[in-house]
Assembly symmetry: C2
Homo-oligomer: 144 residues x 2
């Protein structure tokens, strides 16, 4: 599932212990994670101290700015989620009941042309989220 075989820390970003750890977590992760998620894993893995949540945010900011990480706010969006850009971008279906994420087989826009109101817009990226109910929640739940 992980496609991080040849994934190395970006040369253009200054290496520090903290950033390397954050990079490792992101590169091992296949789903979007929040800054707090990352922080919790850090203090889990690397001992309880020696990490600040602000460092996580700052590192994520750098990674995002350089295009290595994409930030998004899934579902109502109380907090931001981050994921490493592995080259291929992903979309998710999000279960409204259990909040599980299910990746789409492929991007529905690969071969689709999208038109804006006046066609005077150059599209460089997009974000798509599907909402609904996963198998488990559909079976047990008749209150849909």
């Amino acid at each position: 599932m992980k496609n991080c075989e040849e994934l190395t820390f970006p040369k253009e970003i200054k290496r520090t212990k903290q950033r390397e750890e954050i990079f490792r977590i992101l590169s091992e992760e296949t789903e979007p994670v929040s800054a707090v998620d990352i922080y919790n894993r850090l203090i889990q893995t690397c001992g309880n101290s020696n990490f600040a949540i602000s460092t996580v945010y700052r590192a994520l900011g750098i990674f995002e700015e350089k295009g290595y990480v994409s930030k998004s706010t899934l579902m109502g969006g109380d907090m931001a989620y981050y994921e490493w850009n592995f080259g291929t971008h992903k979309h998710y279906a999000i279960c409204l009941k259990c909040h599980k994420l299910i990746a789409l087989k492929k991007c529905p826009f690969e071969h689709t042309k999208i038109e804006t109101e006046n066609d005077d817009f150059v599209i460089t990226g997009h974000k798509l989220e599907l909402y609904g109910y996963c198998k488990e929640c559909r079976v047990e739940g008749e209150d849909i």
Copy 2:
């Protein structure tokens, strides 16, 4: 542009002065607005006092709960935006430079079937945002 000719305050929601004002603002608006936007217009229109931001959030919560308003977090998402559901749902292209919103002609998924990883997901809704550059920002900006 406004399609609120026959738009009236929902019968199932208790009428109050405040909710009517909030409803009015939402129904006159053609683009998503934040709770703070609404609050500012309220104190602009209706005098400076007599309105609390919490009332705005609570009213929006009710409207959303009953399905009259949809809430979303556009673009990185520092705050939530709300818009009245006029029957037809809308998607936007968002300029990365000036943050202008441009509505799509039509929903790209109207006739498209989307497949999830295992097809065990019932899709009830979706959210799509396009990013790029509008005409103005493209012309002046060569730093794209």
